[in-house]
Symmetry: C2
Subunit: 507 residues, 2 copies
């Protein structure tokens, strides 16, 4: 227990963090419950922890070392705190520590008071005790050669566990030898883009709303992107037929990011049909497929045709972005090309977390964790909807009850000022126009703009003008001014305050 | 203990693997020693384990599932089981499992009976218990935001721990903000190559003996490589002066791979002097700097001029390749460029192993582990030298008493037949000519050759001919036919058998 004490004393455990119950911690550390309870008691008495009935034991609030905000490095400035589907939130690094010694909590002074940025799960809910106990079993049992250079496709234990899990939970038809484990979705998209480029594909269709760094990754592999417009049934996949050299399309069919709509059943069938007819490929980014609150999740598109759909998954929303674990389920004809692309770069990823995740899935802890998080996020979404209905009844929440974010429709022309106003009040959130394809590409050619580190949407906040046909879809669905609210992001104790701050800044 | 029992029963623990002592395991799992001892006893009684005085408790030998050998994927065939300094051993993946279910040991039927391939530490010695206990402390103490998307430079805890450690153990002058954590040496070299390319460097000098996939990585970033010849003082760095557009040089100064010689003090000074005079950069691959057996290790070259030398380290030899953890200590002027290159690719690596390694270093476990491994490898090297002196007295062992490999000089013209003969006897090892720059580049232009999956050296086994000036160095040091013997590779129990097999195949 000395480690816990040191962690709290030196500030490694952030204020407000809820500690596991003494029973849970004791059982995972193999200690008597009294030992843990005594240690907690001592730390409470010393003022390091607070214990309250119903809210558990938490790290007490106090001053922490302040660090200046992180300066983005040389290259392309980081495009604000984006981070939707299976993506990394850039520009949110905790800063380069200077004074901070090992164990000192490093926090940026520019950290917002309230964080509703989309793209992150509730990090305080990472199941540390269950993860450690899976790690203990996995590492104790691993064969020696698991510690060596391994298979670029990933550990066989994990590929088997994923094959079972994805079939059961997402309807994916996945043989282990079709699965390639990778360092999160970003590596998967990079490898796929390179593999497609190597097989002669020239362009990939994308949604007209999405994440600019996904498009960048595709471009960097030498491919063009072609945006597809949207309407209330989701992405207009029929436009694929007129985009002649497009041989692949990147979609988020279960829950579009950011607009929050699923792809309609007709369109699901149509896009698979297009792929069959043309020899094309659908890249299914299933970033939050486990989180559906109003019904059983829609099964993966991949189930319709495993030879024409690549299923892409990640633990970044279900567990933690810091794991950097994702996977692709590939058609047979792509496995060799993707592994070749992987062998030419960072071909291996850490085996220890792979073994641990395999055990975590196999022993049932992953299902348990997801059940718990589903309840938690569902409750948060309900709270958000209820608060808006009461305090801002003119604001409509669109998108299905799923995932970690909701879209709030704003009166035309108000988005930019709302996001800016929120920033002034210490509330971080994202405007919908930030994710517009046109906005991203305009900014790319304009030089300064998107890249200035501001989170303010650069698109036409006035909701019309140059976007032209690409906005028709959202105009049809109610206009293009909106907020993307990441209700998964804050820790539990900060959620009510964040919702309150949100209601205050709405027009 | 059920996990242990399952692991042994299902074959996840490979036959011959030595289990930790019941005392060590009990202490790490927080269990009573008797509990562990009882479980061991039961498994011994059931025939799953064997316990013998002096050799500890081991997994019993028995049939395991056999898998067909791994077919390399589409692209460039993997160049045999190379893997020297901070590099990945390609072509050694355990095969794509098909029948094997989670928990079934997957082994290739083509696995050699005796393995003296260079490039791997003793995987059976991975300090599982100490690592798990560091993981427990680190994860329990980590702030919540450690589970989110992080800083591309790596976790601050690890960069601080490395700064202290590298200063103390290797004489590196490393401020944490100059350290970038990356996924092993391979990612580091890739990022550095891209950063150099982006700053206008056109060519990098390399040793005339080294690893072809390092040269490939440099080429892929758009840079040329220029080989420097060698003599008994190490790499002829004076040749840098006549290679006009070379602005960087990749070296293994403490212990050249594969020839086993250090860079002489004069040459160390000369190469830093060259870098200062020309604005050049030395890339110091310190892959096995911790392992020196006859004296204190020579300090890192970086200590001579932190603004002109990039220090590159890895846990692949000191702990396990499967961790995929390495680091660069960068001159101030390169930090931005390297982070920009990292942000354009896999910018993040798993945080959990980073936090664990930080704790593992800080609590002293890393030093303890290295002390133990130093003793073990030293003993092995002594055994190798003694066996050769007795059974093959005409074979000279060259290179310093350091690292995980030794070079055995062979009579001119015998290398190819010795390596081939060893393969027939189930002994995997590598010929020196396999690492020749000329051999690699010839094979690249010839098409088939190196890439055929054979481990046989492709160079001029006859020790002369087209290599020209580049072989002068080794000719001066006693000829270019030789074996590179990785004495770190086998587990302890297999070492004597491997040495025996080696002595049998020597001419």
């Amino acid at each position: 227990m000395r480690a816990l004490r040191d962690a709290v004393r030196t500030g490694r455990l952030a204020p407000g963090v809820r500690l596991p119950s003494s029973r849970a911690l004791a059982s995972d550390l193999g200690l008597a419950r009294n030992t843990v309870a005594d240690a907690y008691g001592e730390l409470v008495a010393e003022g390091w922890l607070t214990a309250r009935q119903g809210s558990g034991t938490r790290v007490a609030r106090r001053a922490v070392f302040q660090e200046p905000a992180h300066e983005p490095p040389g290259g392309r400035p980081s495009p604000g705190s984006s981070g939707g589907p299976s993506g990394q939130r850039s520009g949110r690094s905790p800063g380069q520590p200077s004074r901070a010694r090992m164990g000192v909590s490093v926090r940026s002074s520019s950290r917002p008071a309230h964080d509703l940025m989309p793209g992150s799960p509730d990090l305080a809910s990472f199941p540390r005790a269950a993860w450690l106990s899976a790690a203990r079993r996995a590492l104790t049992a691993a064969p020696s050669d698991a510690f060596g250079y391994g298979d670029p496709a990933g550990r066989p234990e994990l590929r088997h566990a994923l094959a079972d899990y994805l079939a059961r939970a997402r309807g994916v038809r996945a043989a282990p030898e079709r699965i390639v484990v990778c360092a999160g979705f970003v590596q998967a998209l990079m490898l796929l883009s390179r593999a497609l480029s190597a097989t002669g594909v020239g362009a990939v269709a994308v949604d007209s709303y999405g994440l600019d760094f996904h498009w960048d990754l595709i471009h960097r592999a030498g491919l063009r992107t072609v945006p597809l417009s949207k309407d209330e049934h989701g992405t207009r996949v029929e436009e694929l037929d007129s985009a002649r050299d497009v041989r692949a399309v990147l979609l988020t069919p279960a829950h579009h990011f950011p607009t929050g709509m699923p792809l309609s059943p007709d369109r699901r069938a149509a896009v698979v049909d297009w792929a069959r007819r043309t020899g094309g490929l659908v890249l299914e980014d299933d970033y939050d497929g486990e989180f559906r609150y109003d019904r059983r999740p829609v099964g993966a598109l991949q189930g319709l045709d495993p030879e024409r759909v690549v299923h892409l998954g990640t633990t970044s929303k279900s567990l933690a972005p810091a794991l950097r674990l994702g996977w692709m389920v590939l058609p047979g004809h792509l496995v060799g090309e993707v592994l070749a692309a992987k062998s030419a770069a960072e071909r291996l990823i850490g085996a220890l977390d792979q073994l641990t995740l395999a055990e975590f899935i196999t022993c049932g802890a992953y299902d348990r964790h997801l059940r718990g998080m589903r309840l938690r996020y569902r409750r948060r979404r309900d709270q958000l909807v209820a608060a808006l209905a009461e305090r801002a009844p003119h604001i409509r929440v669109t998108g299905i009850a799923a995932g970690l974010h909701a879209v709030l429709e704003l009166p035309p022309g108000t988005e930019r000022s709302v996001v800016q106003g929120a920033a002034w009040q210490g509330l971080a959130l994202e405007g919908l126009s930030r994710y517009r394809y046109a906005a991203a590409t305009e900014a790319d050619s304009d030089g300064p703009g998107m890249g200035d580190g501001m989170d303010v949407g650069k698109g036409d906040g006035s909701g019309g003008g140059e976007g032209g046909g690409m906005d028709d879809g959202l105009a049809g669905a109610g206009g293009s001014d909106g907020l993307v609210v990441g209700y998964g992001t804050p820790p539990d104790h900060a959620f009510a305050g964040a919702i309150d701050a949100l209601c205050r800044v709405l027009p």
